[in-house]
């Protein structure tokens, strides 16, 4: 299942010509108004589909338009700019280097692996998009550099992994590209020239705003983008005012992928929507507030919603919670050994592995230049000696990610799932004090699910936990497998994982989904051992009313501290976690 609005065509099938036409239109509209529309999110694995869309966009842009590709991690010095080391040393005076954002002014910035973008990087790009310039306050330089670019964020289309919401919200089009064929180009330059004069009728504006609200789109950027897309579409067609066709196209491209509910649903969004068939047959009743154009817009959106989306909308709440976790894998790229909290600089020798603090070094060298140059003819203009060298200092990040693995099976529900949740909340409060990150895995029925990727937002963790339903079998092995994967990804991100497993130990679903206690327990022990080998600090909280021998065995197998909790004892629980974390 993909996120709402993402799905277009099942893989392998020939693209729906209407979808392909719309996607081509999106590329052309973006070429007409790059900075105004912000850009596009392309979901899906790299391949000919993505490339074909990019090719259409690139071919429609005027020759010489900057086209830059950046990775999901890059240092501020490259992104925003800073001091140019070589040029500064050669010139003997500070020489600024432009960053990628400023270099892409007037062009298109391609961001690969956008789902791995750290919130900090996303916020920097977003700030440049909002201001249409880069605010450079680095290395002794204070500059404002124009940066009007369109951003194309590509992600891998993996379920639950999205580009940061801060960027998605600022990009007009969200597409899952299909294969486009090359086609003759239309007059982009003329459309650009015409764009400023295109009028969008007032009822179109009202229709787009009304439709956005009816579709459960909260952000005001969406209707604004739709408005601009309609204007760009009219400009492209050589019209002086946007027609209802332009508006419908804009709604399909901008509003449909953002829809979180169907316009028919009068009930609040958490309500599961009616079945696919029903909803498709329902025709919106003509309400006084909805003008005919708005109905048309909604119809356009409904037509653009892919098959099977309704089921997706049902799972939308969970998906939304997950999607809203921008720091999900944020740390994954920060594995460089010399990262951490910058803690000033220190003098020292420049050995391998040390990071030179260039500006500080120059500052240290600067006052002595006239002395050192005295009596010297020719030679370098800047004389840096060993005693000038300054190195960056970092404080090692000692951040912990507490992974809560919560048994939400029927048996656990019987054994006070509510109280287990209460216990987790107490622990969450503790994490807040220590500023740890938390992640939440729930397992019940046939499998385990990462309900919340590592996040610092405890409010979200709490909400996620409260929404965790109970019931079903106890797939303990699946829960432990999920925990191991998450712990490993935390390690890769340079954080210390800490596992807290809350279960009553009554495993009865094996890894392959079959029932049977013996196999389930064997699988659980099997899944527990890698945790011990990986030396993941862990705590097993036995929530059964009477301590379970198997739970103790499992704790041994995973090298966890075992804590039977016949009574939800806040102090003991929190104390135990602290001990494990220490």
């Amino acid at each position: 299942m993909t996120a709402p609005g993402d799905g277009q065509a099942p893989p392998g099938a020939a693209p729906d010509p209407a979808v392909a036409e719309d996607q081509r239109a999106a590329a052309l509209l973006l070429a007409v108004d790059p900075a105004g529309l912000g850009g596009a999110v392309l979901r899906g694995p790299p391949g000919p589909e993505r490339e074909s869309w990019l090719a259409v966009l690139r071919a429609s842009l005027p020759p010489g338009t900057p086209w830059r590709r950046i990775p999901a991690t890059l240092p501020d010095s490259r992104l925003l700019g800073g001091l140019d080391l070589a040029a500064t040393l050669a010139a003997g005076r500070p020489v600024a280097e432009r960053g990628v954002l400023a270099e892409t002014d007037g062009g298109v910035l391609l961001l690969g692996m956008a789902e791995r973008v750290a919130p900090g990087l996303a916020a920097r790009i977003a700030a440049a998009m909002d201001a249409r310039e880069v605010a450079l306050e680095r290395d002794g330089l204070a500059r404002r550099l124009p940066a009007r670019f369109a951003l194309v964020a590509c992600d891998e289309g993996v379920e639950g992994e999205h580009a940061p919401e801060a960027l998605r919200d600022r990009l007009a089009f969200h597409l899952r590209p299909v294969l486009l064929t090359a086609a003759p180009l239309v007059g982009i330059a003329a459309a650009r020239a015409r764009l400023g004069a295109v009028r969008v009728p007032a009822d179109a504006l009202e229709a787009l705003c009304g439709a956005a609200l009816a579709l459960g789109i909260a952000s005001l950027r969406a209707p604004l983008f739709a408005l601009r897309a309609a204007a760009a579409s009219a400009a492209l067609a050589g019209r002086e005012a946007a027609t209802s066709d332009d508006v419908a196209l804009a709604a399909r491209l901008v509003l449909a992928p953002r829809a979180t509910r169907l316009p028919e649903a009068e009930a609040p969004p958490p309500e599961p929507p009616p079945s696919e068939q029903e909803a498709a047959e329902q025709v919106p009743k003509g309400e006084d507030s909805q003008g005919p154009l708005e109905e048309r817009v909604l119809a356009a959106v409904r037509a653009a919603l892919p098959q099977g989306l309704l089921a997706g909308l049902g799972a939308g709440m969970r998906e939304a919670a997950r999607r809203a976790a921008p720091e999900g894998r944020a740390g994954a790229r920060q594995a460089a050994p010399l990262r951490g909290r910058p803690a000033g600089t220190r003098p020292g020798a420049l050995r391998e592995g040390a990071r030179l603090a260039l500006v500080e070094t120059l500052r240290a060298a600067a006052p002595w230049q006239p002395f050192r140059r005295r009596g010297q003819i020719g030679g370098p203009r800047l004389l840096v000696r060993r005693e000038d060298i300054r190195l960056r200092r970092f404080e090692a990040p000692r951040q912990t990610t507490a992974i809560f693995v919560v048994d939400a099976s029927g048996s656990a529900a019987l054994h006070r799932l509510a109280e287990a949740k209460g216990a987790v909340e107490l622990l969450l409060a503790d994490c807040y004090v220590r500023r740890d990150r938390v992640a939440l895995i729930g397992f019940r029925g046939l499998g385990a699910e990462v309900l919340l990727p590592p996040t610092a937002s405890l409010v979200r963790a709490k909400r996620c936990l409260a929404g965790l339903p109970g019931g079903g079998g106890t797939p303990l092995a699946a829960g432990l497998d999920a925990a191991r994967d998450l712990a490993q990804s935390c390690r890769r991100a340079g954080r210390t994982p800490l596992l807290v497993l809350l279960t009553d130990g009554r495993a009865n679903v094996a890894r392959d989904g079959t029932g049977g206690r013996a196999k389930a327990e064997a699988d659980a022990l099997d899944a527990a051992r890698p945790l011990r080998l990986g030396a993941v600090p862990a705590l097993l909280v036995d929530t059964a009313p009477r301590p379970q021998p198997f739970a103790r065995e499992l704790a041994n197998a995973m090298g966890a501290r075992y804590l039977p909790l016949p009574l939800a004892d806040a102090v003991r629980l929190s104390g135990a976690v602290r001990e494990v974390a220490a």
Binding site: A127, R138, G140, A166, C209, A218, L362, P367, F371, L458
Partner: protein
């Protein structure tokens, strides 16, 4: 303050230089020299609580800053940037790179104090952006590398904190700001002066500014110490009614199409608001705060169990500024009620997991103390 403490960046280490960078051109103009004219403050639709908090901070800078939390695309940054164009200019010592106030002899920088006579000039109130990714040397100020390399002079290059003096320092996505910069800000915001000790430079200059932060709490929690620095905290939501949303989009679109024309059309409203701010500032000292209002504020804070006296103090000051803005001559219940959520919601001793929003708790306490 002693002169010896304030600025010692002399040529003692700079082997061949004249004196400190005094003749440098004055600080840059307050508003970021953006490519476009900022969106007019008066044209912002809705978001009354945020706009009111910003105006209150503009009237009484001692309130201690505004934190704006909320949804994406609600115009948080727009409002703060719009403030720059709204504020009436202020008087500064001519040529002073810190923008010292000629009327406040106690707060002058060392340079100004050394002057035989202060000449006055007008300058826009600075609204300085502290972008993410700024480095510490640009925030606090540091040795001017260019002059050091070229002339061998040890000169102090003021940073963003110096530029924000007597104005506003704005941090978008404040919850993503690096910890070491937060530490620096906390220190300066508490003491009102910036102390730079690096590369043999020792400078101390006044840095009193109104801290304005915005962010989305979903992207990471704010450090409690930083939260506490903000006098007012407002929450913004996307408007949920169609007419308001339409109006927002309509004005935004009009502005994007023709920023200059749009600003010109709103200039009359802008100058009316500007006059209101000026008049409110002038009357601030004369606003009466009756004992009954003080008592109510105290009871409200007691009912909410806020820590310390800062909550009460901010509540009273904000209510007084609001009364001045609204043209009243005394603080009444209406003003207290209006500012109570902003002044108190971030000071509640909170359980980080308590879902009852702090705004709801404040409202409940307000209803208890003031009656329905």
């Amino acid at each position: 303050m002693h002169q010896a403490l304030t600025e010692r960046a002399r040529e003692e280490a700079g082997p061949a230089g004249p004196s400190v960078a005094r003749g440098r051109p004055a600080r840059p103009a307050g508003a970021a020299p953006s490519g476009r004219a900022p969106y007019p403050f008066a044209a912002i639709v809705g978001q009354e609580e945020m706009l009111r908090a910003l105006l209150i901070a503009a009237i009484d800078g001692s309130i201690g800053g505004v934190l704006v939390l909320g949804d994406r695309g609600t115009g948080k940054s727009t409002a703060v940037r719009a403030l720059a164009a709204l504020l009436p200019p202020m008087k500064v010592v001519a040529g002073c790179r810190f923008g010292c106030d000629p009327g406040d002899a106690a707060a002058l920088c060392a340079d100004c104090r050394a002057l035989p006579r202060l000449r006055t000039a007008e300058a826009p109130v600075p609204v300085v952006d502290l972008p993410l990714g700024a480095t510490e040397d640009r925030v606090a100020g540091a040795l001017d590398i260019e002059r050091a390399l070229a002339e061998g002079v040890k000169a102090f290059e003021p940073g963003l904190l110096a530029r924000a003096h007597r104005g506003f320092l704005y941090i978008d996505e404040v919850n993503l700001l690096e910890d070491h910069l937060v530490d620096l800000l906390l220190d300066v915001a508490a003491s009102g002066e910036n102390l730079v000790e690096r590369e043999g430079i020792s400078v101390r200059h006044p840095a009193r500014f109104v801290l304005v932060g915005s962010g989305n709490p979903e992207e990471g929690e704010l450090r409690p110490q930083l939260l506490d620095r903000f006098g007012l905290c407002v929450e913004v939501r996307t408007p949920a009614d169609v007419p308001t949303r339409i109006e927002v989009i309509r004005r935004r679109d009009a502005y994007e199409r023709d920023p200059v024309g749009f600003c010109a059309a709103w200039e009359k409203e802008q100058s009316r608001l500007r006059r209101r701010i000026l008049s409110a500032r002038g009357r601030l000292a004369t606003i009466e705060v009756p004992d009954a209002a003080l008592e109510r504020a105290a009871r409200l804070c007691l009912a909410l169990g806020t820590d310390g006296l800062r909550g009460e103090l901010t509540l009273i000051r904000a209510a007084r500024a609001l009364a001045a803005l609204e043209g009243r001559d005394r603080v009444g219940d209406a003003e207290l009620r209006a500012v109570a959520p902003a002044a108190l919601r971030h000071r509640l001793r909170r359980n980080p997991l308590d879902e009852t929003s702090s705004a709801a708790r404040v409202e409940r306490a307000v209803a208890e103390v003031f009656g329905p």
